[in-house]
């Protein structure tokens, strides 16, 4: 599965468009990380726990998008976009979407 965020796949021709595919995940942080974050709010600096959490979530959203693309017979996803929104206090939604295509 080739994933890009441009309209084409470099060095390959798109022969068929299969439409939009997307994947999402909603994650919330756990209490331990929240306490650390509270401390960091005083001293400033990187919140490593959150960085990891969001990286993992984004990977999972991408993974779900790829699965969906595979299920409809695509071998690449182009024009991928990410979006983040906080749906409730302490929870964030990570969303990945793109166009499933067949390339050769």
């Amino acid at each position: 599965m080739i994933v890009t965020n441009i309209e084409t796949v470099p060095g390959k021709q798109i022969v068929k468009h299969l439409g939009l595919v997307s994947g999402n995940t909603v994650r919330s942080k756990h209490a331990g990380r929240d306490i650390m974050a509270g401390l960091k709010n005083i001293f400033g600096g990187e919140l490593k726990g959150y960085t990891e959490l969001l990286t993992e979530s984004r990977e999972e959203a991408t993974e779900r998008m790829i699965e969906q693309a595979r299920a409809i017979g695509a071998n690449a996803v182009v024009n991928v976009r990410f979006s983040t929104s906080s749906v409730a206090a302490g929870a964030a939604e990570l969303f990945a979407y793109g166009t499933a295509v067949v390339v050769e």
Binding site: I2, V3, T4, N5, I6, E7, T8, V9, P10, G11, A37, K40, N41, I42, F43, G44, G45, E46, L47, Y50, T51, L54, T55, R58, T62, V80, R81, F82, S83, T84, S85, S86, A89, A92
Partner: protein
Amino acid sequence: MYDLILFLVLLLLGYVFGQRAEKRHFKSIIEREQTLRDILVFSERRIPDEDQLEGILVSGNVVISVDFFKRFVASLRNLVGGRVSSYESLLERARREAILRMKDAARRKGATAVWNLRLETASIYKGAQNAVGAVEVVAYGTAVRQRR
């Protein structure tokens, strides 16, 4: 009275550690930018001469929190309006760090350039009175390398 003392202590801690952390972070950003200079980043979508290349999606993200002192300064600034420079430096740090991590991911995949860079900023942690607690910046793009 105790509240005031606690507040002043937090302000001092935030000032001392926050300034130190920021200085150290900027130093390390500048160093790593030097070592990753050979990876070119473009926000252009069309890749010239793409026949012999292959593309992979790469991304880098970072969550950075602002310190207590800067948040207090920003809330004072809110009264009169104008430039909030304490948040400007926070966002600059976050963006440069995210781009560096993306470049690092591109290098690990053997790529020499990243096309169609996109940056996204989200405020993920709200403190008291909806003040900005921490921001997340994610940078992503299509890394290209020679087809094997």
